[in-house]
Amino acid sequence: MTARTFIDAIRETLAGEMRRDPSIIVLGEDVGKKGGVFLATDGLWAEFGDERVIDTPLTESMIVGASIGAAINGLRPVCEIQFADFIFPAFNQIVSEAARMRYRSNNGYSVPMVIRAPYGGGVHGALYHSQSVEAFFTHVPGLKVVVPSTPHDARGLLRSSIRDDDPVLFFEHKKMYRSVRGEVPDTDYTIPLGQAAVTHPGSQVTVIAYGLMAHYALEAADRVADEGISVEVVDVRTLRPLDRETVLESVRKTGKCLIVYEDNKFGGYGAEIAAIVAEEAFDYLDGPVTRIAGPEVPGVPYNHALEDWFMVSPDKIADGIRQLAAY
């Protein structure tokens, strides 16, 4: 066990996996000498060289499309999109190609690859360096979507993602890179994709979250605990496939469900969780399924006053919990 920042866990896991499996390559913009704009790939180029750590041109569709081809021909590419906001030029390659190759070829071809991308706001990134883009991909059969919230989970889930035989989108909240630390075992553990974690047991209100919001949910849970409200926090960790059972079990126990996400609310990922809960836990509900999410604007504004206005905070979550508990 060693304490690690979130980004250290990712970087070390990448290095460890590359040592373990020579078919893994890393590619993306500035991932080589510079080590990535957040330094998530720092040191890899020095250790593994030009052929396995490839600085690509500024072309996201190529990064993903060529990774698909490389995966078809025996490699396991882990590509980096410099900011999740810049994944859209690759949307067609991800949704039309990576996600469907296995299905459309009737299992003839598979695409074992990982797309890593830093996402999320609260770091003065403004409209185009702050987005939550998970909802665009969690809707797509053929893709898996992972959003870890701790160094421990990041390591275990990144290992599983790299070893998975299907395309995985792996989103890392950039605000957590250096602000979140935690114990990480030095063993070769993995965390299976598709397993949520109950990170704070409780009995009165279930709060479902992921990424940075999983931390804010814990903070909020602590805050309202003093007021006598017992909150259970579920960190879904893998968004597709979703661990419905853990979610539903918690809600069936507490009877109340608050879903938290940073993305704008309408049509965000939490809508699907709300819909599942409303359908499958109806008989257990003691209150409406509620959501706290970002406002309906096309991005996180830059100015700090506007950014604070946009971001979901532990305070806002705590308020949501109080309201639901009082229902």
Partner: protein, 340 residues
């Protein structure tokens, strides 16, 4: 495929092949055409709902595919690539089961539209509909070949209309930077559905774009099978020896409407259509081989019979095959990891 020995007349010798190669190449052109014509008949007869055709492209496809190594090299084809797929190892039955979308269709098990060929067994990447995406897959395959040191070459092919997609720019750029073993083939038939080349590009030749990536751009008459072969062999050798990609533009003709859903007389004149018939690679190649004494009457008769048999057999097999069971429709969204 080029290691055969045997008779080598002057025509074959002029391109470094044997007579038997030429006969086989002719066979693929003729087989592709015969299958294609059968598809239209089946469509008109109401047996299959949709046809997308390779007629007019077959000569270029066979010539270009010939120098690749089967089960070693890779092709990422497009919807007109019937002759390409046949030359690279797929069978007549595989082509027609794809039209019927049967359970045993090797391309997709009936999941995809006709024309979306693919074969893991033959290193043929599964075709998808959004055009030009396959270029990047071929580039990635070439990247893996280089990194893994397999000696493989990856070739992709598409129409000139599709070559205007952004993915083509991004992929050629990357392949050129890393001198990947990659060949880009444009089958330029002058139309993207109804849009003539002059509204698709401001240049007469797609090959003019090669210089912008620092790679050779070669124009070849797509109705001249052996010219296509020679251009392709050179590009493949270049690729295999580490000198990087080549763009080959084959000027072909689209002898049919875009697909069975299209009425090309709405946008092409009768004169134009008649003139294009002159560029049909099948009779041109046949005359060439006859004149060279390679395709004797005896061989021609034998081939015609063989091809008829193959097409009839493929039709019968495809007709007889069953539809996929809907119970299987949820399979292969993800790996079925038994015990992993």
């Amino acid at each position: 495929m080029t290691d055969r020995t045997g008779k080598q007349g002057s025509l074959a010798a002029s391109v470094g092949l044997y007579d038997d190669d030429l006969v086989q190449m002719y066979r693929y052109v003729a087989l592709a055409r015969a299958l294609d014509e059968r598809m239209w008949i089946l469509n008109r007869a109401g047996r299959i709902p949709f046809v997308i055709s390779g007629q007019g492209h077959e000569g270029a496809q066979v010539g270009i595919t010939w120098p690749l190594e089967r089960h070693q090299d890779w092709i990422a084809p497009f919807y007109r690539s019937i002759a390409t797929c046949l030359t690279f190892g797929m069978e007549a039955r595989d082509i027609l089961t794809a039209q019927y979308a049967t359970a045993l269709d090797p391309s997709s098990g009936g999941r995809q539209m006709p024309g979306h060929y693919g074969s893991h067994e033959h290193n043929i990447v599964s075709v998808s509909s959004p055009v030009a995406t396959q270029l990047l897959h071929a580039v990635g395959i070439a990247l893996a070949a280089k990194i893994r040191g397999t000696g493989q070459v990856a070739l992709t092919t598409m129409g000139e209309g599709s070559s205007n997609q952004g993915d083509v720019h991004e992929g050629l750029n990357f392949a050129a930077i890393h001198k990947l073993p990659f060949v880009f083939v444009v089958e330029n038939n002058g139309y993207a559905i109804s849009v003539p080349a002059a509204r698709q590009l401001a240049v007469a030749d797609v090959a003019d774009r090669a210089a912008g990536y620092g790679i050779p751009g070669v124009i070849v008459d797509g109705s001249d099978v052996l010219a296509c072969y020679a251009a392709s062999r050179e590009a493949i050798e270049r690729a295999r020896s580490g000198d990087g990609p080549t763009l080959i533009e084959a000027k072909v003709t689209r002898l049919t409407a875009h697909s069975s859903d299209d009425q090309q007389t709405k946008y092409r004149s009768a004169e134009e259509l008649a003139a294009e018939r002159e560029r049909d690679p099948l009779p041109l190649f046949r005359s060439q081989l006859e004149e060279a004494g390679v395709l004797t009457e005896e061989i021609a008769t034998r081939l015609a019979a063989e091809i008829k048999l193959a097409v009839d057999d493929a039709t019968d097999v495809a007709e007889a095959q069953v539809d996929p069971d809907p119970a299987t429709a949820m399979r292969f969204v993800y790996a079925e990891d038994d015990g992993r």
